[in-house]
Point group: C2
Chain length 114, copies 2
């Protein structure tokens, strides 16, 4: 089954990350797993793409991050927990609209009289 190539994700990856976070806060690795789980076996993001995307989203004020307080509970690598800000939720709504237009326009051409 043909995989979804990184090029095709360009300009959509941040939208995917925002959508993943709309299900609730998560740390980076968990976002990766959420997307992988919903990726129907053809979507495989890499850390090298995700973390820069998270930094961009954080800088833009769309997500907020904090180090997990591991006073009690798990022992393991430290985690940074990301969550949508109000601004990020609005951004996700805009991006959903934009996604629909993208699909409508490109899809309209690709599927024309096929």
């Amino acid at each position: 089954m043909s995989q979804i190539d990184g090029n095709e994700l360009r300009g959509h990856l941040e939208t995917l990350v925002l959508a993943a976070l709309s299900a609730g806060e998560a740390h980076g690795y968990e976002i990766l797993q959420r997307l992988e789980a919903r990726g129907e076996g053809v979507l495989h993001l890499k850390e090298g793409s995700l973390y820069p995307a998270l930094y961009r989203l954080e800088e833009a004020g769309h997500v907020r991050a904090h180090w997990q307080d591991d006073a009690e509970g798990r022992r393991g690598p430290r985690r940074r927990i990301y969550q949508l800000t109000r601004k990020g939720k609005a951004e996700l709504a805009r991006r959903r609209e934009h996604w629909r237009r993208f699909v409508s326009v490109v899809g309209g051409i690709v599927e024309a009289s096929s």
Copy 2:
């Protein structure tokens, strides 16, 4: 109205070009116009993107090109006419399938419980 950015087109532009040519042979500029016409005002390809894409498609054997025979008819800049090869038609079919999967997977995540 928000435009479709070049980044989002990455990995899809060649598919658009193949789809445009499935309506019949055309020269570069005409492909641009076809896509512009179907772009609902938000899709604007540039020559600097189209011609390299055409060269890639030609090299891959998906399109065939020839200089227009202007023995009679129009006088103006010379044109290169592009048409789908049999291989290109098969490629378009594959890419349509791939497009549907892409929309299904990414759309499924983006639209999840929205």
